[in-house]
Amino acid sequence: MIPITIDGQPVEGKEGENILQVALDAGFDIPHLCYNENVKPYGACRLCLVEVVRRGRSRMTTACTYPVMEGIEVLTQSEKVLRARRMIMELILAMCPGDKLIQDMAKQMGVEQVRFKKDDNKDCILCGLCARVCDEVVGAHAISFAFRGDRREMVPPFLGEAMNCIACGACVVVCPVDVIRMKEEGDERTIIRWKRTLKMKQCKVCGNYFAPWFQLEKFKERAKLPKDFFDVCFTCRG
């Protein structure tokens, strides 16, 4: 166990954990958007800023990317931290002014107004969670960031249909601003944002369309399952 202090309180973290994880587990409130414990920390949204004092030197850093180290002091509510977080929140709110979660977070942090031109044509906050889940959890590598600077975008390869996408919907679940949508119509499932439509497989027992063919084939291939393994849906299999 690695002893640290957060806002003066002694807390213990485990080797390999980051400050955000430890702080959240201990009940501290640090706003965050691009962190999810199922994938590697990325440090993109910059909302989880904290001050870390180590060997007498203080610096601002993102809690999600900072490993717990013996003896560090973490300040989650210092004036500097709050000031920086507020501006970052305002910048994010300007990117997607219509999103409920972002609006609520902003309100909670005291961000009342947006002093920038609001982006009407953007909705994604570029947290990268969808791609990280797709890479690290699903293993499909269907989407990735493209372009630099203010042209950065999360897209399928060559901006076309995401050919590796198995339409599992993990990205739909993980997106904090809810801009990746899935629709099912008849025997088809579409992940609208990635322009991916896949035919669904029908259960031999109940007749429901339960999962995309392509996805099931991939699973069988990866887990070396028998050919007829997915002929019956999960519910009917019991």
Partner: protein, 623 residues
């Protein structure tokens, strides 16, 4: 020649090269650097080849195509040795005359000499040209006399002597101690002490370690790293071998952008030649120390030069910076201890080992030792690459070396450090230039770019220009950097187009603070410099744009007002024809008719300036 297997063999080989070279023998050097290449040096080289072939039969006049001499603005440059006569802006047709008069008869071709811009005096010797006189070219100097594709040339001027000294009479720790004592600071921008980095890397646990040379040089205005690699690649390589020995690394990379084809070729040749002579590879000079170098090519993004992005690129991943709470000296390339230094940093190493830290530390200031190469550009008479001792004043660089501001204009500011550097106002012209002074005044050493700006420059426009570059070149990962630079640029657009408010200035400052404090890498960390430094020194100019909707330097187009002086107007009607939006009315005067002086309708005017260009009578005023 096979592999040399001891320092004695190297010395014998060197002696042989020197013996074959008569120091009094005439040879012609033509600069083959990037600048001179652009101004046509290749035709000059061909012309000299032809003349030598025809006229110098058995006479043994040498011709050498060298790397960049620095004075690119006056290229193609030709220097005749041993007298060191400098001819500038040489054309192919000058070759026979130069050969006839100077090489054969020792006479000077007056018309090709450099003329002092103020006194008009003709200057014969390269060293006497003011551009070179105040420079201290300990790193860059050999560029002008060696052929980068010939390892013999480098050996003849004492090359790989420092390597011998390090390998055979110093322990790795002693090499590190010497570099620490010399207080060599990284020339790639940050100014981090190289010796300390080497020591940390040496002490880091792990068998496999790497050294890397950063030749990404992403600042579009700087080209000193390119010129060093093109003109004297062995000096960089020798530095890397010494560093690898000190650190205990056996593998190295030179990371060079693919837009630098000649640099790639020349460092490639240098590596090959060094290998053949046993200066690289297994058991270097029979010492038991092995080290080899590979070239890795970068795609050319500005951010790819950042240390962690660079390592990710070499690994074959996306060139994006990552958090480095564990330093790259402990866990860098493929998670192994890695020491990265800039091209110029590496090139300093042989000199420090050869001449010693005591000699080296005599040059420079308290906190910054040695020299620094700057790329001097902008509104200054002499542009090019200049190597100066740390601590030289901006005044000396701009006026003595740079020859002052052209066209009798006034100096306004000097921008240093590359795109994310800052603007230093004319009032600080006596600032000694070193790492710490530049940071103190809100700028930085950065890439070594130095842009001179005169009174016709608008500082708000300058900030906008750099912010535009940075918002494009940020990798885009951090909200603070991506959105911060974008919003700063957006606000600067508002101000330069006449929609600025005083609140914008506070907002710029707040955005600047957050961008610098909250972003992951040093791109975000330094990106606000152009904005913050101009706000600090030129706030009145911002206010003039905001309050009076006026651009004092007459640069911001949207704020210009065009007016026709009715008493000067000859009623020729040219302006009305030139105007693309028919904003000008009046009546042309003819022999029969009186005519009406022309007038611009401000509402319709799109400030394109066509009328101003078209008027032959200076009847149009810009405000």
């Amino acid at each position: 020649m096979g592999r040399l297997s001891s320092p004695q063999e190297l010395e014998k080989y060197r002696e042989g090269i020197r013996r074959r070279r008569d120091p009094h023998q005439a040879f012609i050097t033509v600069c083959g650097g990037t600048g001179c290449h652009a101004s046509g040096c290749h035709a000059v080289v061909d012309a000299f080849k032809k003349v030598i072939q025809e006229k110098a039969k058995g006479n043994g006049v040498g011709l050498r195509v060298t790397g960049c001499h620095g004075f690119c603005e006056r290229g193609p440059l030709v220097v005749l040795h041993p007298q060191k006569v400098l001819y500038q802006r040489v054309k192919p047709e000058d070759a026979p005359k130069i050969f006839e008069e100077t090489v054969l008869n020792g006479k000077i071709v007056e018309s090709l000499l450099y003329e002092h811009p103020t006194t008009g005096e003709k200057i014969v010797s390269e060293e006497e040209v003011p551009f070179y006189k105040k420079q201290m070219r300990i790193i860059f100097g050999n560029n002008g006399s060696i052929d980068p594709a010939q390892i013999e040339d480098y050996l003849a001027v004492g090359g790989y002597q420092a390597l011998c000294k390090a390998l055979f009479s110093m322990k790795p720790e002693e090499v590190i101690r010497e570099v620490k004592k010399a207080n060599l600071r990284g020339r790639g921008g940050g100014g981090f002490p190289a010796g300390l980095k080497w020591e940390q890397c040496r002490n880091a646990p792990g068998e496999i370690k790497y050294v890397i040379c950063n030749a990404d040089e992403g600042d579009p205005g700087a080209y000193m790293d390119r010129s060093l690699l093109e003109g004297n690649p062995h000096s960089v390589l020798e530095g890397m071998i010494i560093g690898a020995y000190a650190i205990g690394a056996h593998e190295g990379y030179v990371f060079v952008r693919h837009e630098y084809p000649l640099a790639v070729v020349n460092i490639g040749i240098a590596i090959q030649q060094a290998r053949e002579l046993g200066l690289l590879g297994k058991e270097i000079l029979g010492s038991g120390f092995s080290f080899d170098v590979q070239i890795s090519r970068g795609g050319g993004a500005f951010v790819a030069g950042e240390s962690t992005a660079l390592m990710a690129t070499i690994e074959g991943n996306v060139g994006e910076p990552r958090a480095k709470h564990i330093h790259t000296v402990i866990s860098g390339l493929w998670d192994r201890p890695t020491n990265l230094n800039n091209v110029e940093t590496w090139a300093n190493v042989p000199l420090i080992i050869d001449r010693g830290a005591d000699w080296y530390t005599q040059i420079g200031t308290e906190g910054s030792k040695g020299t620094k190469i700057f790329s001097l550009v902008g509104k200054v008479n002499n542009t090019g690459l200049v190597e100066v001792p740390m601590g030289i004043t901006l005044r000396e660089i701009v006026y003595d070396i740079g020859g002052g501001i052209p066209g009798g204009k006034k100096l306004k500011a000097v921008q240093t450090g590359g795109p994310s550097g800052g603007c230093i106002p004319e009032s600080l012209i006596d600032l000694p230039v070193d790492f710490d002074r530049l940071t103190e005044v809100g700028s930085m050493m950065g890439s070594g770019g130095m842009i001179v700006m005169d009174e016709s420059t608008c500082m708000v426009d300058v900030a906008k220009y750099f912010m535009n570059f940075l918002k494009d070149e940020s990798c885009g990962k951090c909200t603070s950097c991506r959105e911060g630079t974008r919003r700063m640029h957006e606000i600067l657009m508002e101000i330069t187009e006449g929609r600025g408010t005083l609140d914008h200035l506070d907002l710029l400052e707040e955005l600047g603070w957050v961008t610098a404090e909250a972003s992951l890498c040093a791109l975000g960390g330094t990106a606000p410099n152009p904005v913050l430094s101009t706000l600090r020194y030129f706030r009145d100019e911002y206010k003039e744009h905001i309050l009076n909707k006026r651009c004092p330097a007459k640069v911001c187009r949207a704020l210009l007002k065009y007016r026709i002086l009715s008493d000067v107007c000859t009623m020729c009607g040219r302006c009305a024809k030139a105007c693309p939006v028919e904003a000008i009315s009046g009546k042309v005067k003819t022999k029969k008719e009186k005519g009406i002086p022309f007038k611009i309708d401000e509402q319709k005017c799109i400030k394109c300036g066509m009328c101003f260009e078209s008027c032959k009578f200076e009847a149009i005023e810009v405000q």
